[in-house]
Each structure stands twice: as structure tokens, then as C-alpha cells.
Amino acid sequence: MRAGLAGWAFAAPALLIIGVFFFVPVLGAFAVSLTDFDLYALADLHNLRFVGLGNYLELLHSRDFWRALGNTCYFVIAGVPLSIAASLGAALLINSRLTRLPALFRTVFFAPVVATLVAVALVWRYLLHTRYGLINWALGGLGLHPIDWLGDPHWALPAIILFAVWKNFGYNMIIFVAALQSIPADLYEAAHLDGANGWQTFRRVTLPLLRPTMLLVGVLTVAGYFQLFAEPYVMTEGGPLQSTTSVLYLMYEQGFKWWNLGLASAIAFLLFLIMLAVTALELRFSRQRESA
């Protein structure tokens, strides 16, 4: 009894904060998404009208929304496999028993993860500069023509993907290193005795044992990459020609530039539903492969 009261008393402050500043707004977001909440309603709530699913229908008929969703999916579909491949590659290098100073390399590779996104996005904006950037200078050294990375609608999103891989690969690398270290050494010894070479061992021993980690990393990274926002905000302002406008960028502009809070809430909810569906698909796909 006493413990029961104490338990509630201990948990209450955190639950109150999470409830008031997270759960209530999430439910509120659904309510707001069913209204035409805009600048006029912000000034006087009497201007607020219930529009049902009107905002959602408007979005499904809006070229801007599909464009933003397309850009975001492009970022996820190209960015996630590249990021995971880079993370796994770095983890394998660090985990090799031949490697000296693995802790030092681990720290170095992790540095971009903790670096403030806005600041390093600015750095990359200059690295990607058409005339003075280091990247085009390096390409020139290879005999390639300079690319207008952030000014060309075809290259802007790939450039942001490149940046995102650099920024994030260290995070999943840490998870992969932990998973690799938990693989028993005698499995590798057995493979070696059976005459397996390095690649065969990787394919037949390492990769299958990494599958649960792969799923976890995949789900987390996909969810994270769907939330693309600061990179285009800092590097391209969503352009050129909306080629880097992500769903969240659209939400921010609709909500806090044009004050269409109803429509912005509908955008946020649609993104959430899409993320939920994709995560469910990933889990299902992995289960099927496991039973197959």
C-alpha cells in the first residue's frame, strides 16, 4: 500500500510532463487536422471551422505533397542502404582482429554523429560549393567536370544523401560492432577448419547472425530518415525547384511560415501513418524471410 502510493508519487511528475506535453498534443494534432486552423483562427478562435477529412483530401490532391513525399522516399530508399552499408563496413574494419587502435578509429568515426547537424550542414554547403568547394576540387583532380551540387535539381538530393551518410554512419556502426563482438569465436574457427575463405565466412556465418541487428538498425534508420528536415533547411531551403522539399519541410512551411496549422497537422499525421505502415512491412518481411 505504502509502496503503491510512493510508486505513483515517484512516477507522477514525469507522467504529467509526458502526458501534457506529448500525449495531449498528439491527440490534439488529430483534432486540429480536422479543422481549417489558420492565421485567422490564430487571431480569433471563432474563425475556426470543422472540415472533416478535408485537409487530408486536399493533400492527396496536392502536387506539393506528393513531390515532398517522393523526395522523402528517395532520401530513405537511397540513403538507408548506403548508410547501413557504410556502418557495417566500418564496423567490420574496426572489429577485425588485425586492427590496431580500434577504439581510436571508433571515436573518429563517431564524431560526426555528435556534431551539431545545423553546423556541419553549413560546412558541407561550402564543401559542395560549385567553384570553391573541396569536393569539386577533388573531382577536378580526377578529371571530372565540376557539379553544381546544391543548385541542380538532379544533384541536390544526392548531395544531401552523401552528407547524411557521412553524418550518421557512426551511429549504426556502434551497434554493429557490439553485435559482431557477441558472435562466438569458435564459429569462425569452425568455418576456418572447414576451409571457408573470408567472403564465405562473412556470407554464411557473420551475415545470418547479424540479421536481428540488421532489422533493428533498418527500422531505426528508416524512421529517422523519414524525418528529414534540417539538412534541406540549411543547405538548400527546399530547392532548387522543390527538389529537396521533404514532408517535414512542407509541414514546417505550411505550419509556421503560412500558419496553416490544420493542414500542417494533417501532413504530420500522414507522415506518421506512412512511417507506421513501412515499419510494419519491414517487420513482416523479415519474419517471412526467417520462416522461409
Binding site: P13, I17, L117, V123, G170, L216, G255, F256, L261, A268
Partner: protein, 273 residues
């Protein structure tokens, strides 16, 4: 015969990757010490010919960087303190104190982890407006003062506290709060350091919500100010790089000092969360 070759190849790959990883950060530092205009040249210079701290002076004198630095620091410290107090209390309660509805609450919180925080932002802004917290520290700190992830981080760790230890203290007549302060907190210390590092870095690096809720330039955090300034000073590479250094350096140093704790947080969060 094969091992030395493999060793060389592995180290070549590692060093190449390290160069790619560090080059943008080193270049940022180098350009920040160049006089204005020097970085806009071809081929791009790697090191300043005449290193100068003029960009940093300008940043503090003309662009109010001291103010942004203070805002960032103050907000990160406040958020971290709140998060430590509220999440450790709740995390311990969910691990070790039986109370009505505990399991149902736990399941609800866990399920809610899939909801991205941006969904809440529009109503949250209206709520903050109604409370008068738009453009205030409270508007930034309150939503981050406790979090589902923080509660779970502490709970996972607190599960390992032996019940006998708590029972013995109760038999000795100690109150729950006293037990928490005297016995539980010392045991939780490592995970609290982890939580503190994660919260501090999260708050310092946060961008979207401060951008929304801080409307006056004098309240801006470093990332918000940097993003805004970079739109005004698009051509001033050297000045912007100085701003980037000022923003990144504190968190990089903090990470270097406490990386063991930070990495444990990632592993607990991803393996069990």
C-alpha cells in the same frame, strides 16, 4: 604472408575513412581562422596564410554570439537537470515500486515511442502560446523535461537493483524518498551520467522545436541563430565556419570526455528499447 597484406589493406581503408570523416571538421576549423574572402578561391586553401581570430571577434561583437552561447548552455543545463530528476524518479518507480496500473502504463509508453515528436508540434505551439511560454526558456525546457526514452533508460538499469536491499532499508524504517536518495541514486549513478550526456547533447543539437518556439533573435540557441545567420551571410564562409566551430566544439569535447557513457546509452536504447 597473407596476414601482413590484409593488415595493410585494412589499415589503409581505416585511415582513408578517417580522413573522409575528419576532413570536413578540420576544414571548418581551418577556414574559421582565415581572413574574410580567403576561402573563396580556387584551388581551395587548406590552411590560413595569416591566421586570425577576427571572425570570432566579429561573431561576438556584431552578431551576439555570446548571447546564443549563453542561451544554448542555459537551456541544455536546465533540460538536463529536469530530465535527471523526473526520469530517474519515474524510471525507478517503474522498475521497483508496485503501483496500480503500472504495467498498462508501461505498455502505453513503450507503444508511444513510435510516434514521431513532430506530430505534436502544432498543438504544442498553440498550448505554449496559450500558456504564454512562446519565446521563453520554459517553452523549450518543459516538453523535454521528461521523456519516454529517459524513463526506460533508467528503468532498465534499475531493474538490477536487488529487492532485498530496498526491503532491508524499509525494515529499518527508512521512508521511500530517503531510500531513493541514499541507496538508489548512488547505484544509478552510471546510468544517470549516460542520461545526462544524452540529454545535454540532444538539447544542444536540437533544431526544429527551438526554431518554432523561440521567435525573438535574442532568445535563439546557437543552431537556430547559425541557420538564420547563414541565410543572411550566405557569402561569408569564414564567419559561418567560426560560428560552426563555436557550435560544434563544446559537444565534441563533452563527447570525448564522456564517450563511454554516451555509447552505453546508444546500446541500451537500441538493444532493449
Amino acid at each position: 604472408m597473407r596476414a601482413p597484406l590484409a593488415r595493410t589493406l585494412i589499415h589503409l581503408a581505416l585511415v582513408a575513412l578517417a580522413v573522409v570523416t575528419l576532413l570536413p571538421l578540420v576544414w571548418m576549423l581551418s577556414v574559421s581562422f582565415m581572413p574574410q574572402g580567403e576561402a573563396s578561391a580556387f584551388p581551395p586553401p587548406f590552411l590560413p596564410h595569416h591566421p586570425t581570430a577576427a571572425n570570432y571577434r566579429l561573431l561576438f561583437a556584431a552578431d551576439g554570439a555570446g548571447r546564443y552561447l549563453a542561451n544554448s548552455l542555459w537551456l541544455a543545463v536546465l533540460t538536463t537537470l529536469c530530465s535527471l530528476v523526473f526520469n530517474s524518479l519515474a524510471g525507478f518507480a517503474f522498475a521497483k515500486l508496485r503501483f496500480a496500473g503500472r504495467e498498462a502504463l508501461l505498455r502505453t509508453l513503450l507503444a508511444a515511442l513510435v510516434i514521431p515528436s513532430q506530430v505534436a508540434m502544432m498543438p504544442l505551439f498553440l498550448m505554449m502560446k496559450w500558456l504564454g511560454f512562446v519565446n521563453s526558456y520554459a517553452g523549450v525546457v518543459l516538453p523535454a523535461a521528461a521523456g519516454i526514452f529517459g524513463v526506460f533508460l533508467v528503468r532498465q538499469y534499475a531493474l538490477s537493483i536487488p529487492d532485498e536491499l530496498l526491503e532491508a532499508a524499509r525494515i529499518d524504517g527508512a521512508g521511500e524518498l530517503r531510500i531513493f536518495v541514499r541507496i538508489v541514486l548512488p547505484v544509478l549513478r552510471p546510468i544517470l551520467v549516460t542520461l545526462a550526456v544524452l540529454t545535454f547533447l540532444g538539447s544542444w543539437n536540437d533544431f526544429l522545436w527551438p526554431l518554432i518556439v523561440l521567435t525573438d533573435q535574442s532568445m535563439y540557441t546557437l543552431p537556430v541563430a547559425l541557420a538564420t545567420l547563414s541565410r543572411e551571410h550566405a557569402q561569408d564562409n569564414e564567419l559561418m565556419m567560426a560560428g560552426a566551430v563555436l557550435t560544434v566544439l563544446p559537444v565534441l569535447l563533452l563527447f570525448l570526455a564522456l564517450q563511454r557513457y554516451y555509447i552505453r546509452g546508444i546500446l541500451i536504447g537500441s538493444v532493449k528499447g
